[in-house]
Symmetry: C2
Subunit: 409 residues, 2 copies
């Protein structure tokens, strides 16, 4: 599932018409060089859709966002890093204050603000630095603010994560872009994933939600860094319609074009998130083909990408295909083990290591050369049908343990 068909452009969340952004250091994080507050603003109200963590323990900002966008519209996103505002008695109150302050500073309704937080759980989030930071964010809003904004949502992320593409809806050129934070935080706690997507396409809130809900089943829900589902995961899309296409209100070619562009953005961000997993040295992509049904393909791909043993083997560039078979075997998927083929692939080539569920002779030297690359595909063919699925993950490294084992203080 490569993203070569639509041309990647610069601009991230600011690429689409009418969107500006900014990011500042307001003081939630101690280091003055780390931005910890980000704002995205649309010149006009935008259709808004979102998906949230399935964790029963939900961050307060998610509850407030859910309420605010229940009418299908929003105009701004405010997000802080350094504190998750979760499991705090006053969490809802603080998240509400963030929306009120943002609404005041922008001259929009507080209920048109999406709010998100990422960082340590169970520590009170002080509104004071945020109250100081918001006017600054508003004064710095600009068309190239995507750079600072995508920094402002980072925690232990080692690189900014953003992407944008142009696409056509019924002959009208539209743009969609997004930014994400991946796995990790400065006071390590959990691998929260936050994704903010913006587009100037005109699409109704219902169809936008349909597009997002359908897309994430095959993209963000197929990413795993460590198997822990955060309390604060959230993906939102704002669609402000400023491209001027005729409003997408139903299934059809226009909706398909939008879905394809959205998928290009989400797959790109999935790869960035997985490749920048905590402590990761490699992006792993597990592609399962030949499944009897879609769910089997997904279950197998995700089980393999989640296996600690396989992740450690990939860190060691070890073509330990037994661990792939093992992870398929305990996945819960109904598969015929004796039909399974496994191969490893990277920029250095492809090597088959298992055929019909049993090992085959292969060059360990060639396998090592392939597995020493930074992007590894684990190719599985179940030879039982024509359904496929992709899952994204990363290797398990000393640094994962270091990042997550270090004392919080």
């Amino acid at each position: 599932m490569k993203t070569t068909e639509l041309k990647i452009i610069d601009g991230g969340v600011c690429a689409a018409k009418g969107f500006k952004a900014s990011g500042v250091h307001c003081g939630i994080r101690k280091s003055r060089t780390k931005r910890d507050l980000a704002l995205v603003f649309s010149a006009v109200p935008a259709a808004c859709a979102a998906v949230y963590t399935t964790n029963l323990v939900k961050g307060a900002p998610l509850e407030v966002t859910k309420r605010n966008i229940s009418d299908g519209y929003a105009q701004a996103v405010i997000c802080n890093s350094g504190n998750a505002n979760t499991c705090n008695a006053d969490g809802i109150e603080i998240a509400d204050q963030m929306c009120q302050l943002t609404g005041q500073a922008l001259g929009i309704k507080p209920s048109d603000v999406v709010v998100a937080s990422t960082g340590v759980i169970g520590q009170k989030l002080d509104i004071t630095p945020i109250a100081k930071g918001i006017p600054l964010l508003v004064s710095e809003l600009s068309k190239d603010g995507n750079l600072n904004a995508s920094e402002g949502i980072m925690t232990t992320d080692t690189v900014r994560k953003e992407v944008a593409v142009k696409f056509s809806v019924g002959g009208t050129e539209c743009t969609i872009g997004g930014m994400a934070k991946g796995s990790g935080m400065i006071h390590p706690n959990m691998a929260t994933m936050l994704v903010f997507i913006t587009t100037d396409a005109a699409i109704s809130p219902n169809m936008l939600q349909k597009a997002l809900s359908s897309d994430i089943a095959n993209t963000f829900n197929m990413v795993s860094v460590d198997g822990d589902t955060s309390t604060n995961d959230m993906v939102t899309v704002l669609a402000n319609g400023m491209a001027g296409n005729s409003l997408i209100t139903e299934d059809g070619p226009d909706f398909d074009a939008f879905m394809k562009a959205l998928n290009t953005i989400t797959v790109s961000l999935c790869r960035m998130i997985a490749g920048d997993g905590e402590g990761a040295t490699k992006l792993l992509e597990c592609i399962t083909e030949g499944a009897a049904d879609k769910q089997t393909a997904k279950t197998v791909a995700k089980s393999v990408i989640c296996s600690s043993l396989l992740k450690a083997a990939m860190f060691g560039a070890d073509a330990n295909w037994g661990r792939v078979l093992c992870a398929i075997g305990y996945s819960g998927a109904c598969v015929d083990v004796n039909k399974i083929d496994v191969a490893f692939k990277s920029a250095k080539g492809t090597i088959a290591v298992c055929k019909n569920g049993a090992g085959i002779d292969f060059s360990e030297e060639k396998a090592k050369e392939i597995l020493l690359e930074k992007e590894i595909d684990i190719l599985i063919n179940l030879n039982s049908g024509n359904q496929s699925a992709t899952a994204w993950g990363c290797d398990l490294t000393y640094d994962y343990v270091k990042i997550n084992g270090d004392y919080r203080t």
Copy 2:
């Protein structure tokens, strides 16, 4: 779930009447100092019960054992380390040969032999060293052979794992003992768990199977080192009746006494296996109380013990209770988050860290002191009922990555 009620005695698998054992180096493993073949022998045929991995990819020895004990009886156990004999075209044939050679050397039917293997997957197991080793094993069978036998099944285990207790069935003194290998292997591949239990109690094959199947649901199935279910996991019990109690053929006080003794053995071995998990520095025990039903208690305990983030935090002696709540939240169990209390406990004391789903003030110094111990209890109260469950695991460390990331050769 401590094991203080029945007195622990020496002897492991040889503690019960009529059982002898031995362990030798036959040459499967390269290091001459590592025993790699073990034998357990009962003077008379014994009722036999077993449980096997749920992995669809099953080691050949499991298939052969299943067939051999289908009549409910066995008299010997042969087990090698260094090679799992799994995903090999000739796996069944080799496992059968191991039984034939063992049967010949002992003068018993090959179909009365339980066979097990643990080690690397997908590499042909050469019968030659085993054929040489079996006569040696038989000549070395002795009443204190449990020491060598429990070494012979070790892979990356750092300590031998065995335990035994005496108990009474209807006034007759009986003995039960066992040995286990935990998580790891010299050519790291997966965390196979093998457990062999022996008893001189007289119990019918059906009741023995009932006891074992019931017990493991709360013991071995509640242990996790890394979430990967091996292809070769197996637990067997041999009961030779030489204690002379009246045969247990139905539920009642005798069966209850047997169940209690069995549980003492299995809980002890669970704690040993978890505490000696690959790279582990700590034994973690998660005790969930106050659940509305047993399954909720088990789901919560197991989710917490499996969380990579929590395991890394425990390695760092970090009282990061947010990760406990997070793991409960994504466990799939239906719980009221706002009722959850969390505390950490060790030999240095107990410290409450979360009350009603929110953080409470606690001394970080005291928490650190408690968490620096080698055995940590994670105490969860759901405050929604009276069901409880315990799960066992270990911390996630640099050495786990090292053991499993190193190249096989």
